[in-house]
Symmetry: C5
Subunit: 395 residues, 5 copies
């Protein structure tokens, strides 16, 4: 009978926690594709696992020299094979993995190793930099703000001598500022090679984490306030979720930093020496992002301490309430009990001011204890704790 | 007299804890062979400790070239010695250690060092890679799902120029997908040497940990719910068991990763340069497994915090119950006590509405305190905590 | 109605916490420009983000040889271009970033890389040392005491063969002692090259942290006292703030140390071997600063423990109060209750000394319990805790 | 008067703790020689500190070739000097340090450096490997099981081209299996040089830790049970002692592992390349021992958590008892108090079923509260906690 | 009025804590010169900060060869300049910094770099080893036992080809054993060069820490006992102080070890290869000291846990007292209350044995509860806790 209602209540509590966890996962863009799409253990190493409902690839083609820029969708992949040359820089931007043949054809045209293609399509992979002869695969995690929510997806970037090929699972990226600079004749991208274009894309990805850090900073400030003002289980669940989120984020970002640091420690590869100062700049930003995340993690420890201490303070307040009330009335009740006794010989009972006197004694006892409690500061604590509770309930 | 029943109760409690620990150990496949089979200290270094009830070896022999594949059980080990050659790749797969002579004969045929054979048979050893001239010993821990339970055993893999020899303590492995690829003419395994076969086997072992991670992830989610909804000692025992399990698992996996990383940092050995990109792929997966386990470990800290905080909340609820009931009735009892006094001069006793008035006073006091407690939110906490307890008992 | 007042109270509490946090941030000089001025993600790497209200640059020019010193403001930047030579050492000190053209012009004159200029202007950056051919960029954080408050800002220092260029966001620096030594003919700065001047400036920056450490040491001592004498939420908020501050400060200082350590590990660059002993001296000081900060961080853990333990002691005191009072009066009330019973046959009621005897019994019970509590030391604890509370309220 | 008894009680408590600590120290073999015998600070570096009651050296001499073995006590050390040659392997095994002259004479015969001799005699030293020209000193800690107690002592092993000299402080070692193999003609030791003998001795020392690990594993399991079933101070003292023991043991073992790892990273020395695979095997075992100890240490953290949580549960049980009893009787007492009032006008007092009715009301209140407590699960908790306590007291 | 007394009480508490901290600082020899004497930031790098009340230097001069030793005070520093030669070893031992000119003159005679002199005089500096051409500066912290108190001061040791110069801030050192060995003709110091003398001094400094470790070990044992027997705030303050002390000491010792390790990793310098075995011996001792300090630090964590657990046990005891007393008397009072009711129809009141029966009921209830509490073991806990408290108060 009451079970239904109780179930409802408990489920509310669970929902709160799940919502907090879900919020954290969604924040990481992991709520709807939490598991890596992995081929079965023992499968061929270059097997590709594409979800049934993956969108068809949308391929954009930028071809430019210092003086000229052609851009547009690439419909027939075969056109590419003929068109590649040494005089221009080509950027092939693939969004969506719905057509395995097309993906393999592109890989074939650029001489991309099947294992590297598998890394680009079986997302998410660890952030890393792999060298395959004169080309390199850079795998990064990209953050994008959509409708007040932050979406994460993997960017796989292949750099060759005269071309860049990028793979993303979904449409939607953060490269519009790069495209704008690309279209501006005389910009540094237009006057440089494929390595500078790759750098510009990586730079956009790394800097895309700064807005995420700003959101996290606000979340932490909210949590600090909640830990003091509202030390209830759902606050604990939120702290726990943020901690989980930061653990994940730190790991991702540490891999990202390590991957980027290798870029300027390689003897050969597509990145020329002239781009190295720029790559070092990107590395600096990645280190800064990681530093900030680690600082946030250390702060959650403090927030947890505040929460636990607030819970202890609440218990203390409950104890004080009991102590004050019981300590006031138990001695008074004793006095009343004494004069409720039925002894034959109790002279006080027959005194004229006996009854009034008993009240005087009782009130004196209570006043003495009240004064003592006030001096201990307990009465103030009680009214304060009452007020803060009421106030936070009013909000 | 009552001792029997008490014993039973305590034993129930112990059973719960032991069951949780046992579950964790069984999960690691360590319940029934928890101790390493070690020769006595001071024994000869190549001594082999075989349990009395070890099953007789079952030996499978695969011999293949790009164009041809022979497979079948190997009954007479001596046949091998004559048959080995440079044109084919041979895979000898030994399951079961029941016949020391046969094991030593195989080692002799392939020139396996006695110490290496001891490492393969005195299981479990630390995961590692040891070089013996042109051959290498790779020791790994292998996870296999059997009847909703996960079994671990050691895989010892010897790679030589034209052959692979693998040792397992028990029958049952996870190599069926590899065998399928082996039987498919034109597959990459068939077109490559022994090093690629070794890679494929290692790859299957490493990827076999991903289902374990999925199970662990579910266990952790269950624990998070239990830590909030059911903060009893048996939940603590489960958290402790999972933590122990993760400590073990992290150690195993860290060794596994370190061992695999050495494979591509050796100047010479059976693994050719063409296999290195594949080995790096395996290393990536091993790092990913380790990263996930470490993340899980950091999460158990949070689960522990939630548990402890839930216990504190329970205590808080008990305190609130006492405080509310005692604070309501102690003042009312005082009023009743006052009018139970036997003074001669107590005018209220003779008032017409004295008795009713005393009820009014008592009810007013109680109402005031109830309103105060309600404003503090204590009444709501009590009913909520009641409901959630009842509900979890109903489940 | 009361809501207003309650809001006020809660806001007081919040204000306390915010004030503590603000105090910590202001201490770090971060309260009014907490966020890095960053160009938008994807912008050109050498873009400069200058706030609208940035003050116009104030440029000071020191030119000296062993025998001569010219100093004064530099109004026309173009004058510099013509005047640079190999015989003198020039120090250009730029304070304020309000004029992008002027900044770019200076960078052009000295051949400063656009990325390096961006690092100098988009403050704050990570402390670091970057090499650009024969010149180096040293980025440091500088602490300056203003009106009992400590201000932090970035110092960007470019060292070339014969010149030093320094950038600061705001006027106000700590280089007056260096200027004094510069003006003294025969000082070691005057007799050395640009690298020694750069060293002297770096030395002043690093040593400028020692007064900050002294302030922090006093803050920690205050906190230790507060944690014992006043374990209230606002003390917790202060501990948390100091911990946050130390986390930030340690990170800054670790970067600073790492940057300085690279100065003596470079094969070539503007710093000559004769300056290396001096640079090693600076490194020593930076390590000392970092060591001290880390020691402080480890101490905050102890302060937190003291705080939590004090809270537990307070709860203990509350419990003791309740226990002493309730345990004294509940047994006495029982005795009174017994002789309030209305049985027909209660011989004690009719005894001559019955009433007095009941008092004797009650007082004996109370005295016994009091003696027991006194032996447990609880009475002393209560009076002590009362006194200390009162005293700390008096302060 | 009572002081004597109280002293006795307190001393019992102290004895429990000291006994636990002592047990741990004795376990480490450190109870009776806790302090290093160190010469005074500033003394000559090769000074030797021999205790007054040190036993006289007992020296065993093994001389063997593949075909022949002579063994027996060595009474006249000078005989050695003449007998040493290149054709045989000699093992001099010294037990007891009571005769400094004899020790120095042996050192002189084998060309042992005075500092090395001081390390061998001033025990215990850090485990380490020191090279002195063509000979090496290996210092290890040796564990030996005597009468259900484990004794530790230092083994100092000098390896030269054709000889091994070992020093132990006390008689009693774990080398009997090695001696057995030595006496067996055709064994690998007899067919190899002094380096293989040294390896065999080191191997026996390292493998001698496995029984210690087994004992520790049982201690930890006992502690886990005690932490749940008997969370009293003496259990805490035992946890603390085991933790101290593991801290010591980890440190010893880490030094041991580091020392052994250097053996195969040296360009020259007495250990030939043919022994390296065996040394790597020993290193593996040492790493395994250290890994296990570290796992144990991480487990003690969990045991501590369980203990603290059990204490909290106990407090919770006490609270529940008070709450249940007080909450049941306080309301009932209030009802009784009401009808003990002496108002003139109390109609209930004169009702026929008034008295019975008051009981009905009181019992109804108590039943309602009991039902509520039962639904909260508190009654079950109380009986369970009672039972488990009783049971553990019965054990 | 009472404020004075209260102030006194609080100040007592503060004094206890300050005394504990002070004791720790004095132990480290830092109480009376807690701050580094630093020249102001920006001052010349070789500036020397000498306190106004620094004692005048006392300079001792030892000159020796294998066959001859001259020793005595050095009054005229200029005498040194002429007397230095290659045939003898000179040790100049400077105690007290009160005369800057004299210090600079000595530095000039031996060619000591001004920065190195500043490091020697502006104490305390980080322990370190700095090379200046053919000479080296070794900075160490020296511990000396004076009147049951341990004093720390910096020893700065300059080693050149034929001389050693040492600086100490105060008179009093631990080199008497070294001097004794120096005076003994034929000792190893007399037969070796300046590097061996330097080694002997360093060895005395490092070994001087062993008595400090012994004192610390005793302090820790005292604390363990206090944490169990006397868990009051002043014990917490002592634990905190020892922890602070160990943090400082570990840092000092880590620097010392790192500095000493560099001595045998330098290609050239004053220390010859023949001294290296001795230096490695010193390094071993320094590592041992550091290991012990780290072990102590890990133990303080355990002591803190014991303290917190003892506090929790105390709270538990208070709760049990309240629970036992309240639970005994509240039910009995209820019975008394029932028979104090004034209903007309209360048959029990008129029974002959009614009153006695009510006592029987009350005593039965109390006995039942007492038996229950005894079975829970609470009564024993109470008496034990009482006794231990009394006993510790008696001490």
């Amino acid at each position: 009978m009451t079970t239904t209602r109780l179930d409802g209540l408990l489920q509310t509590e669970r929902r709160v926690i799940n919502a907090a966890t879900h919020e954290a996962l969604r924040f990481l863009g992991m709520a709807h594709r939490q598991r890596t799409k992995r081929p079965a253990p023992g499968a061929a190493p270059d097997a590709i696992a594409i979800e049934a409902d993956a969108p068809a690839p949308r391929i954009d083609w930028f071809r430019y020299t210092a003086g000229q820029l052609d851009e547009g969708p690439l419909e027939d992949v075969e056109r590419l094979r003929a068109a590649l040359g040494d005089d221009t820089v080509d950027w092939i931007h693939v969004q969506g993995f719905g057509d395995e043949n097309q993906l393999r054809e592109i890989a074939d045209i650029f001489g991309i190793h099947p294992l590297a293609l598998a890394d680009a399509v079986n997302v998410p992979q660890r952030a890393k930099v792999d060298s395959y002869g004169s080309q390199q695969l850079v795998v990064l995690r990209m953050a994008r703000s959509v409708d007040r929510e932050i979406e994460f997806q993997q960017l796989s970037l292949f750099v060759g001598p005269h071309w860049v090929v990028t793979f993303e699972e979904h449409t939607g990226d953060i490269f519009d500022p790069v495209r704008t600079r690309l279209r501006a004749e005389g910009s540094s991208i237009r006057n440089s090679g494929a390595d500078f274009l790759a750098y510009a894309l990586i730079d956009a990805v790394v800097d895309g984490f700064f807005p995420v850090l700003d959101s996290l900073s606000e979340m932490l400030e909210d949590l600090e306030e909640a830990a003091i003002g509202d030390p209830e289980p759902h606050t604990l669940a939120r702290i726990h979720s943020v901690r989980r989120l930061l653990i994940h984020l730190e790991r991702i970002q540490r891999q990202q930093r390590d991957a980027l640091l290798t870029l300027t420690h390689q003897d050969e590869g597509p990145f020329g020496q002239s781009v190295w100062p720029y790559l070092r700049d990107v590395q600096d930003h990645a280190i800064h992002v990681l530093d900030t995340i680690q600082t946030f993690r250390e702060m959650t420890v403090g927030v947890m301490d505040i929460y636990l201490s607030s819970v202890a303070n609440r218990t203390n307040d409950v104890m004080k309430t009991l102590t004050v009330i019981a300590s006031l009335f138990i001695p008074m009740s004793f006095v009343a009990g004494v004069y409720g006794m039925n002894f034959d010989q109790m002279p006080e009972l027959h005194w004229r001011w006996g009854y009034v006197g008993s009240w005087v004694v009782m009130i004196a006892m209570a006043s003495g204890l009240l004064a003592w409690f006030a001096r201990k500061g307990w009465l103030g604590d009680l009214s304060r704790s009452l007020d803060s509770k009421r106030d936070s309930a009013d909000e």
